[in-house]
Symmetry: D3
């Protein structure tokens, strides 16, 4: 039976720093450049969550986007919005908060709330010109 | 031989209401909330039509986008633009006009005009934050 | 003392019809064309509210945008979102809901909640290509 | 003689915190809410610089936008991009980095490099929904 | 009586070259740089036409945007779209087609079709980051 | 092991003409219409380069987007920006510069600089409404 994908876009504003505590300052600077500023910088992140499945013939929905909106709020916005990712998000205390890692973590946080019949893909915009996409494949 | 996808974006403005005539008012309200307003609300829908195939070595085109533009006009815009989807579109008299169902219907209306050698995918934006994608797979 | 302008953008989705009950169907059709569809059509309206005044030296704000956001919600979104403007908004029962008239009404609804020391300007997008701006001047 | 305005858009990513050191933590929290997070948050700021003057009949330019681009780079981007505004920008050590104050400071930094015959206006986007504009008037 | 502004956005794609025939190649290169390429380059120009006047109490319009759309088509799109501005637009055979000069010419071409009771302002985007605005003042 | 995609967006402004030298003027006009203007027209092209691979556990990157940015600059922007594609790009002297062909050529120019472990996809926007995507499949 054919499947359709429903997308919901949200955003959060956060500070971060690219950096590995097990590397020297020189190596962090060489690899991460200005993104390694120890005083942090920040972004208006945009996140697009895509859920794929069969259309429910009762409702005409793949998923109620109002429910998806709430799930993004509780799992992503409440955790990341107006936060310092390195300092205040448990997972990023030991994981470099690159766009890739933020995207994978967002995928993992959402995945566990969705039934197996639904596929998930997460796109994370760090800026309008730099973004990443992950679907667990 | 490698394939390429050509995209054409169009739009239409329409009124709609999410609602099942076989459900009670309470159930419609519970499932569809404010989208169930019996007086209708509306959207500036954006549609992106993607056609995939081999490049024609004569023209350098997958498909003449001028022809695709006309096809979108006759099949989608003429049918949906400045219309009340529930009241004036035959198919939605018995089908709930969710973004999913509008997208699938748009796919079906376009699919029959395209040769089998071309794949089709339709993305329908109900708002910049809510959208769906269908490719018949 | 120099003045600065703070802007807050919001949106609402609504159905409407351009039409004058005191005109014949022919005249309504001639003047308003497809916008006169008696079954209604709709839009994703975007509204940008601009407030101009001196920066409060205490806070560094012209106006707390969180307060402006709430004011837009209570005066504009609660009144217009997911509504049929002609049928459900008192003022448009006797006033044609053109972008111009929606913009002026939005201005009037917001103006009375703002002190005289602040100037107000409202921009209303009916579509990304058609929009209007009003500042009471 | 008629005047024309030329606009140049640029951007920078920065961390900041809204906060007054002379206020208690409670008062900072009450007035600035989540923007007062002591660990900082951040934004992709967009800045639009508008310069108004007569068209130079020799070149057909108001101002060479390549020169304006360099001026924005040296005065704004070099000072703010990938920085913590509170910690690393001298002016914001004693001035709350609200959008309003960042906009006025940007205006002042650019104004002194432009001849009196040119008017200047600066628009600063903190997010696509929150922005401010200043022209020294 | 208060006035309101109605905006209509359109676009055209054109080739151009910045260049003065009375200057040496060296001087053209020095002043206009890569924009002086003798083989031309091009842009997707966006134009926003703003018309200000009193709301017609009969229609609720400042100006019928359908009429404005047609005027932009006949005066601007038909003249500039898919054209080489330097070679095919009479006025630019002796006038450097900078964004400023395209904007002023567009203003002049539209101005003569509008009654004196309406103010006109034209914004011309050469790129999303470089644009100009002219209102005859 | 799961793979992630990193995207980098860039742009270039160029003139072009759709045309086959081995066809008559009549046939070129019939097939390519106004895009066949012998004096050229032009576009602000946007290009999105997508690179898919495993996240490097050392850096948290699929690919350093700064390196990808430089690669796009040297292979795409330096070759196409502010150029006449038909006249100044070697490959388009014998290949019609349709969006499809520009996209495939961009893919080929980038592909040879990337290791086999990374997948590549290129999206080329000729206008915001017309675009193409190619991934070598």
């Amino acid at each position: 039976m054919p499947r359709i994908t429903a997308y919901r876009k949200a955003h959060f504003n956060a500070a971060h720093r690219l950096f590995r505590p097990d590397w020297s300052g020189e190596k962090n600077q060489e690899v991460f450049g200005k993104c390694n500023n120890p005083n942090f910088h920040g972004h208006n992140y945009e996140i697009v969550v895509a859920v794929t499945g069969e259309i429910n013939p009762e409702t005409g929905y793949v998923i109620d986007l109002g429910i998806l909106k709430q799930l993004i709020r509780s799992e992503i916005e409440d955790a990341f919005d107006h936060k310092n990712l390195n300092v205040e998000v448990e997972e990023f205390k030991t994981l470099n908060p690159t766009a890739e890692n933020i995207c994978v973590l967002s995928y993992q946080k959402l995945r566990k709330h969705l039934p197996d019949s639904l596929d998930l893909e997460v796109t994370l915009y760090e800026t309008p010109r730099n973004y990443v996409r992950y679907s667990g494949k």
